[in-house]
């Protein structure tokens, strides 16, 4: 073997050497190899970090900075958020069981994040919450890998599953959108005069999509949203993905009856309800609860 071969062999051995799991099995190697190995062994055992005089002080300072940054992140206003979870591998069987059979636990955990003034339970994986007003009207960005959609009825945000880019797709027909999702997209058979579909946005979340359909009118849009919640199909049998959605607003929310179901009237412009782990939202600037319900009843 030449020097390059020995270097290659040495490199393959080195990580084991550093982790002190590799035994010397290279008695036939040249002297250079053994010398390099000897020095590597010495260096692998070196640790200067005990000499640091700032370690704990720096830790406290960084955590204080992190806390301040977190508070800034929490300044938000009427956002529809998703909390997604992924359960991977057999070691998490307990969590998997808890999540699948006691979904309220996940929802409750998420709800406890906020200091809610009022909370309306829409479904196992869906809540609407009114929180205390915070300074500033423009919500601070949440997570770097979250997609965000701003609309006239509020903002939507969520994160894509691992390995998926947080990109929002836009198509112009429901047929195109239907081809991209794993659930039935509903169509309104009633809309006020003058409203036609102009755009459908699809945002990836927890192995599925949230779908926002924008029906354009003379001035404002009517927006119909479908937000699947709960456990979602996964391409990997050892993984379970799921979505919990929460509507968080500083504006008043009102619990109303929608044909025998609990629904929420949000910010004076959107009706939200949940059926079989699918949360629906029908909203628009100037829309009344009666009109919103009429559109909602017409969804097929």
């Amino acid at each position: 073997m030449n020097e390059e071969d020995w270097a290659d062999y040495f490199s393959r051995e080195l990580d084991g050497l550093i982790s002190q799991t590799e035994k010397d099995s290279t008695r036939s190697a040249p002297a250079d190899f053994h010398e390099a190995r000897q020095v590597a062994t010495t260096l692998a055992q070196l640790n200067f970090s005990a000499e640091s005089r700032q370690r704990e002080k720096l830790r406290r300072r960084l955590l204080a900075q992190a806390h301040q940054s977190q508070e800034a992140q929490m300044k938000m206003l009427h956002w529809r958020h998703a909390l997604t979870w992924s359960i991977i591998g057999t070691v998490t069987v307990l969590m998997l069981t808890l999540t699948l059979f006691y979904p309220g636990g996940v929802a409750a955990a998420a709800q406890n994040v906020y200091d809610a003034l009022r909370s309306i339970v829409l479904g196992d994986y869906s809540r609407a919450m009114q929180t205390k007003p915070s300074a500033g009207n423009d919500p601070a960005p949440l997570l770097p890998d979250m997609w965000k959609i701003r609309t006239e009825i509020g903002n939507f945000a969520g994160n894509a599953p691992p390995g998926v880019e947080p990109l929002v797709r836009s198509v112009t027909t429901l047929e195109e959108a239907q081809a991209l999702v794993n659930f039935h997209l509903t169509t309104p058979t009633y809309l006020p005069d003058g409203y036609v579909l102009r755009e459908v946005k699809l945002a990836p979340i927890g192995g599925t999509h949230w779908v926002l359909s924008f029906y354009g009118g003379a001035v404002h849009d009517i927006i119909i949203v479908q937000m699947p919640g709960g456990p979602q199909p996964s391409p990997n049998p050892n993984e379970v993905h799921g979505v919990y959605d929460g509507i968080i607003t500083t504006e008043p929310i009102e619990e109303i009856d929608f044909d025998g179901r609990t629904a929420a009237w949000i910010d004076g412009k959107a009706l939200v309800w949940s059926v079989d782990n699918m949360t629906y939202e029908v909203g628009g600037v100037g829309l009344t609860p009666t009109e919103a319900k009429q559109i909602a009843r017409s969804l097929r």
């Binding site: 490199s11 260096l43 640790n47 640091s52 720096l58 955590l63 390995g163």
Partner: protein
């Protein structure tokens, strides 16, 4: 309520990417990132700048930058460790450039410093041994010092080192191998003086 957990709740065995994602979702989780990487960052810095005081200052600067830029980290663009040590490397480069040369304490100064610590003899000896090694490493070329620091301080793989230094993986391996041989020669020479 000041501990939000909105975001991805990934229940997987702890790995560096998971630590980073948790810290992105909940800044309070940055403590775990700090605890996991402190030793590697500090050791990497010590290899490059020698002095303990400067290493403390630079380590603080590096972690502050990591915390500040954490929202910009994108897992699909590379491993978190590589991203973190790219920040560390830039901070060290800027520091060394400001110094214009690479001042290190003399071995005598390090001996004085070590003997003033009121430590047990064995600890003093170990500290002197580390200082001695650092001084010998300081005589290597910039690139050789860097590769030693990335390998034995930062604990990076040859592939990660190759990416950072813009080398092929095999080239990084050969340089490391030769550098260790050269270092062995320098240590021999020092011992025989």
């Amino acid at each position: 309520m000041d501990t939000p957990i909105l975001g991805t709740l990934t229940l997987t065995p702890i790995d560096e990417e998971t630590l980073a994602k948790r810290a992105q979702a909940d800044r309070a989780a940055f403590a775990a990132v700090y605890d996991h990487f402190f030793r590697r960052v500090y050791n990497y810095v010590r290899y490059r700048v020698g002095e303990a005081e400067a290493a403390d200052d630079l380590t603080a600067q590096i972690f502050e930058q990591v915390l500040r830029h954490l929202p910009k980290y994108r897992p699909h663009r590379g491993l978190f460790a590589a991203w973190l040590f790219r920040i560390a490397r830039t901070a060290i480069y800027d520091y060394l450039r400001q110094q214009r040369r690479h001042p290190r304490l003399s071995l005598e100064a390090l001996e004085d410093q070590a003997s003033n610590q009121l430590e047990p003899d064995q600890q003093v000896e170990e500290r002197l041994h580390r200082a001695y090694l650092l001084n010998v490493i300081a005589t290597l070329s910039e690139r050789e010092q860097e590769i030693i620091a990335l390998k034995f301080g930062a604990g990076l793989t040859n592939r990660q080192i190759a990416d950072l230094l813009k080398l092929s993986q095999s080239n990084a391996g050969v340089i490391l191998y030769r550098t260790l041989g050269k270092l062995r020669g320098l240590l021999h020479a020092e011992e025989n003086r």
